[in-house]
Symmetry: C2
Subunit: 515 residues, 2 copies
């Protein structure tokens, strides 16, 4: 893409002159073959990151116009929908997620942009609170009027597994722009061409909406990502990715002279508990349902159910049998990149080598570029005793761990040892006496609690919460749904401020009904 939309000048990869550093090339790679497709850009150096942040920073004033923000979000949705074939083709070539999934992901992404346009227009996110003067309090209460204002430039770290919905045009960008914050996106190296295409469309949408194009900037490169979170003019960050990468950036955000909020979604086991009654009632349905959820998108969902407590005994056996049958019937698939494929196969091997762990489907069978789904099975006993810690860590890819519990107490003990999660799921039956207690055990573990469902598929809705105790997220916020906008705002209270100096949203309503 020689017409780089982010202004990154193309430099020849080997152009080393006196005192010049090599500009590392950014390649688009086909995960179906492992081969490079094209050079998309070069990695941004510190000066380029600085320029991107400063350019974005300069657009804050223009973004203060809520009407323009709503127009921008709707225009972006229109342009992305209009470019659907190109976007899906680019994303599929780089991620192998397939056109059906990616067409759906694009629909979700553009709906999300329009959803945040509505939130901007509605204005409830400003969380206006007004306290009238009251001389009787200690100390006396003056006229106080509070609302939320944008934080400033937001750094968005795109995800590997959702090249659209959690990347350049995704939820972090949509919610940050809705809040009035310019965005600098650090592209994910798994889909740089898709990132450039989407950034160009967002910048075009800005221009069409009367806003500067630099409300969105894009940078590539690992070091650029580190520079970004350290930049003094970056006010907050959103991240979706691994525990290791996310924690490093979280630590950098916290270690700044002026620390900034870092909203990272790092990793999640997404535990599922199947009660004896649920297994007795619908073992086969549960097995098939779990297989579909855990292999969806090659198991590359943040909400993949990766740990299942299933009862020992006959009903649990039937469930496990249905699960392994269904998983064994799924086609091998291509993961997002070969590094992930290697990590997946290593992770499965490590877990399968633990004493007492059996592999009922061999994950990893497939060709040189593909993987198959798999199921690891263990008794819950060793886990309840604090062993087999690797089974309580996320293994990214199409594998789940089924731990067979012998008693309610054993299941509860294991739940008490789990790290934080995005989701926790209970499968129960009508009038199941275990349900209330298990739900109480699950609630501390996650940000979303499901009953008789599967956690993959995260609706964009007012009541959604996609976040949870660490390492699921590094903050208490959500990255999906209407309240995601809260991440990019801070409250400001105006005290005893004359009407004409107040922001319009805080003024008294006039006779004409304004205010």
């Amino acid at each position: 893409m020689s017409d780089s939309p982010t202004g990154t000048a193309f430099r020849i990869a080997n152009n080393v002159g006196e005192g010049r550093v090599v500009a590392a090339p950014v390649w688009s790679v086909d995960p179906r073959t492992g081969k490079a497709r094209e050079q998309v850009a070069v990695e941004a150096d510190a000066a380029e990151v600085d320029a991107a942040v400063r350019a974005a920073y300069a657009t804050r004033g223009a973004l203060a116009d809520r009407g323009a923000r709503a127009r921008l979000l709707r225009a972006a949705a229109e342009l992305l929908d209009a470019a659907r074939d190109r976007v899906v083709e680019a994303a599929d070539a780089e991620t192998a997620l397939g056109p059906v999934r990616l067409t759906g992901e694009l629909a979700r992404t553009t709906a999300q942009l329009r959803y945040f346009a509505g939130i901007v227009e509605d204005g409830a996110f400003l969380d206006v609170r007004i306290s009238r003067p009251d001389p009787a309090t200690t100390p006396p209460t003056p006229d106080l009027r509070r609302m939320k204002v944008p934080l400033g430039v937001v750094a968005v770290y795109a995800a590997s597994n959702f090249p659209l919905a959690f990347s350049v045009p995704g939820g972090d960008t949509a919610s940050a722009l809705a809040a009035g914050c310019p965005v600098v996106v650090k592209a994910h190296p798994d889909h740089p061409a898709t990132s450039e295409l989407c950034a160009a469309l967002l910048r075009k949408a800005a221009a069409e909406s009367g806003l500067p194009e630099d409300v969105v900037r894009l940078v590539h490169g690992f070091d650029a990502g580190t520079e970004l979170v350290r930049h003094p003019l970056v006010a907050a960050a959103g991240f979706t990715g691994s525990v290791r990468g996310g924690r490093a950036l979280f630590d950098a955000a916290a270690a700044r002279p002026v620390p900034i909020p870092f909203h990272g979604e790092l990793g999640s086991l997404n535990p599922v508990v199947i009660t004896e009654a649920a297994a007795a009632e619908r073992a086969e349905e549960l097995g098939a349902g779990l297989a579909a959820s855990m292999t969806l998108g090659q198991g590359q969902f943040c909400t993949k159910p990766g740990f299942v407590l299933a009862p020992a005994g006959e009903a649990g056996d039937r469930f496990l049998s249905a699960l392994t049958d269904a998983v064994s019937e799924t086609e091998p698939g291509v993961m997002l990149d070969h590094r992930m494929r290697d990590a997946f196969l290593d992770g499965v091997r490590e877990r399968a080598a633990l004493p007492g762990v059996t592999v009922t489907v061999t994950p990893g069978a497939g060709g040189e570029h593909t993987v198959s789904g798999g199921v690891l099975v263990t008794d819950a006993g060793p886990l309840a005793e604090g062993g087999h810690a690797a089974l309580l860590e996320e293994c990214f890819g199409p594998v789940t761990v089924v731990a067979r519990y012998a008693s309610r107490e054993e299941a509860g003990t294991v739940l008490g040892l789990l790290p934080g999660n995005l989701t926790a799921t209970l499968h129960t039956a009508d009038e199941d006496p275990e349900a209330p207690g298990l739900l109480a055990d699950l609630t501390p573990l996650a940000g979303r609690i499901l009953v008789n469902g599967w956690p993959t598929g995260v609706a964009v809705a007012d009541a959604q919460h996609h976040g949870g105790p660490y390492p699921a997220t590094t903050s208490l916020s959500t990255s999906v749904g209407g309240t995601a906008i809260e991440r990019w705002l801070r409250p400001v209270t105006y005290q005893s401020t004359p009407q004409h100096l107040l922001p319009p949203e805080l003024r008294d309503a006039t006779e004409a009904g304004e205010g």
Copy 2:
């Protein structure tokens, strides 16, 4: 106090046996003389901190009862009011803040406890959001019901300068208990006896309300504070104090294997801008008003106006003259402790030694234990050029820096160099053409913006915001006002959950109007 309410056994300070570590004594000290009054307790070691946290943790279930929480907060207010004379006497003996101020602070503290009782009963803080199923969205929206739940044990680090309102029975404790979180308070060493007395009253209130006394625990000691923020069962922390101490604890909170939110209020200059028009209109009133605000409580308020941009020229001269006259007439006073007094005098000396800085009142004149108020004056020019950095750092105590600006541009340049603040104040006149622009310059600097007022005195109200950009606070939240409760809550969404398994607040309203 041999009947230590927190269960810390008294040990003899010099009781060193084989392998036993000395238990460091905690002394109550009279700041009016610098002499020890009594040994109040001993510092908690790691095992005692652990025991305190575990005891508090065990009360979470009991605190889930919102009615009991409201009763607890009201009972605490009643007991504190009933013990007013004892509480004020203890606090005055340890802080020298005087009975008038402390009686007012106690009234504010008990009003704050009752205010949070009302917030608990009202329930709006649960921020319930419900999304009905919608199969037309991508992905489809299931039944989603979100509310906020308590985080867990909250560590509260008490302030030196508000032995009641920002200490054991203060806003952090009140808002955390209101949220349903047990509290472990780390007492401030400047008022350990007051802390013990207040903790005993809070624990008695718990017992009277049918709650375990351990919903509030108290620990003493610097090392205990560090242990506390690192404890795995501590879920969040609130802090009011210095930049150095607060940043160290913030760093410890961020470096945990599982990082936790750290809501620290660290330091604030609280800049004031006086326009030419305001000075021309009421120079004398402004000088007297600033003098009263900056010397209130010996200048030991977090919101003390510590940096004032005043115009060069005749009107500004009159303002400065009125200010210095008023400050020179204030009586010398006793600071909270001698370490603070030393730091204040050192801080003033350091700033006064800068080239071009004049001292119009000599701060520090007074007896061995007292200090007087002072005013440092400089041209804004060196500041606008990036010099005199010490003048842009808080100097805790009764001193303010007046920077005389030659132009609107110079004032704006200096404002752009200021760190984050709790408050920023504009003094303006009717139809002052500079007002809108200056207000726009001040808004990014602080969490509360005042027009024609003084920042000391923080009303407890729904629309209050007592927080601001770092170092004013380490988070985006407030420590005063109704929304302070948000610090101790996290959202949880229940998906497709049957009515009988939902928390009562999320159920559909029944025909009888419940729910």
